[in-house]
């Protein structure tokens, strides 16, 4: 297992002060949620942790080695990222899209085999999009495309999952099944780090939270300690009502 570690990390957001340097370790089995208002830098943080964007200072370590010292191919065998936005300049089928998740595991001269296709089909089945496998991705609905993107990373089978708004476009049932899938991944010793818009989903499914403020401030820790109404109200600049459901807090925006 390869814990992902942020060491004195300051993400590079133009025209923003350094703020709080991030120091945390994403341990196997943990599910982290990142909360913050629009523009707080959640996506930038995720891309920085994946090594796709250079930090302003500090480092990201994977298994005690800095990401900058590891080959992209080796990083991608351990670290998977579900993007919020995706491009499709060229038409591709759902199965072809899931199959690219095998890319890090194949040598340049290798063709995809029946095994690779089986792994991709299983992933599509788990995300409930296997019936669409011959459809072109650009003809799918937003929620279906989101599930195909998650199935692609499931095919990639990384130890560390980074996800940018994984519940975007999903209906309630599929939101829950995706979060259950991620919980099962964490249960199998992998780790999950995701940006979420929905405070209540984060409160329910994440064991650790990182609150990212627009001015660069940040705080992180076990979810129970972070779910303080005052801190959340400051985070979103929105007054909240807190109710208890099922033994867990539920936050509702106050009408003004």
């Amino acid at each position: 297992m390869n814990p992902l570690q942020a060491r004195d990390l300051i993400i590079d957001i133009p025209n923003r002060d350094d703020g709080q340097a991030l120091n945390f370790t994403l341990k196997p089995g943990q599910i982290w949620g990142v909360l913050g208002p629009n523009g707080a830098g959640k996506t930038t943080l995720l891309h920085t942790l994946a090594g796709l964007r250079a930090p302003r200072s500090g480092t990201v370590h994977l298994h005690d080695r800095s990401l900058t010292e590891i080959k992209r191919r080796h990083i991608s065998q351990q670290l998977g990222l579900v993007f919020q936005e995706r491009q499709d300049g060229f038409p591709a089928t759902v199965l072809e899209t899931a199959l690219i998740g095998r890319h890090p595991w194949l040598s340049p001269w290798q063709m995809e085999t029946g095994d690779d296709e089986r792994i991709a089909r299983q992933a599509l089945e788990q995300l409930d999009v296997d019936h669409l496998s011959d459809r072109l991705v650009n003809t799918l609905s937003g929620g279906e495309r989101q599930r195909v993107a998650i199935a692609t990373v499931l095919t990639q089978a990384p130890y560390t999952w980074l996800l940018d708004e994984p519940t975007n476009h999903l209906d309630l049932h599929h939101q829950v099944s995706v979060l259950q899938l991620l919980t099962a991944q964490a249960g199998a010793g992998r780790s999950v780090f995701m940006c979420l818009h929905d405070l209540n989903l984060a409160a329910r499914w994440c064991d650790h939270l990182l609150l990212l403020y627009p001015n660069g401030d940040a705080c992180w820790g076990p979810a129970k300690q972070m779910l303080v109404p005052a801190a959340l109200e400051r985070l979103y600049n929105q007054q909240l009502l807190t109710v208890e459901v099922d033994g867990a807090p539920l936050f509702v925006p106050k009408k003004t």
Partner: protein, 323 residues
Amino acid sequence: MSRSLVTPLFVLALVSIAAMVVSVGTGSVSVPPGDVIAVILGDGSTLQQTLVLELRLPRTLSAFATGGLLAVAGALMQVLLRNPLADPYVLGLSGGAAVGALLAMLAGLGGLIVSGSAFAGALLATLMVFGLAHGTGSWTPSRLLLTGVVVASGWGAVITLMLAISPVQRLPGMLYWLMGDVSYARSPSPGLALLFLVCILVVPLGRSLNVLARGPMQAAALGVSVRPLEWTIYILASLLTATAVTMAGSIGFVGLVVPHMLRLLLGNDQRLILPACALAGGALLVLADTLARIVIAPEQLPVGVITALLGVPTFLYLLYRSR
């Protein structure tokens, strides 16, 4: 290699051979397909041997190599930019190569220096277009196309200027170059060798290209070293274009039309599309050249005219269809 790759390539190879046999057999003295094959196998009359092996085959092979190179260059550009409308001609690469070649001709140089200069021109054009259209981290298709078109018209102006100030005795050679014509192309082997090499090279690069077609960030997240791969594609596409343009002048639209048609038929796996482009682009240009020879026989049209006449309506149709 899986069967789904082999069958289409085998069919295209047969089509290419058939096109070449027809091309070699067509002309002022026609040679039946059976005789063409006999001559190539070492039989046939002396007249037929001279006609086929010395006069027509080099031209046909040059047309094949040129078409293949341009189609592969176009397909590579399209993956690089994730834009099905990119092609070396539209992006001004051919213009840059032409200016390079004409400069060398204007200076009275010939042969290898013209080729080298055309290559340098194509590379310069690539750098200019990509450098200027480069935004923060990625290219927006509309900006890139606009940059390419503007740069291409800039090259056009430079070409006109050079023609205007050139001494008269150099003009015919320069004009031949610009019109795109394989009738004087006599040494197809470098182009064919390059085409073959690239087709071998894209096998290991193919899957990375497939991933790159999903966008640079997604590709990086899946373990592709995006920058080196992108530079490899730039340089390859420039080299292919420069070689093609050096052999046969600027021939438009093969690089645009052929990959697009093949993607409609065969999907978008670059390991299939790129070799298929080499074969289909070659076959198309061989047929276009055959047409160019017979439409107003005994006079000949430059093959660039035929490909443009086919390509312009197709390009307009694609633009009309795209949002």
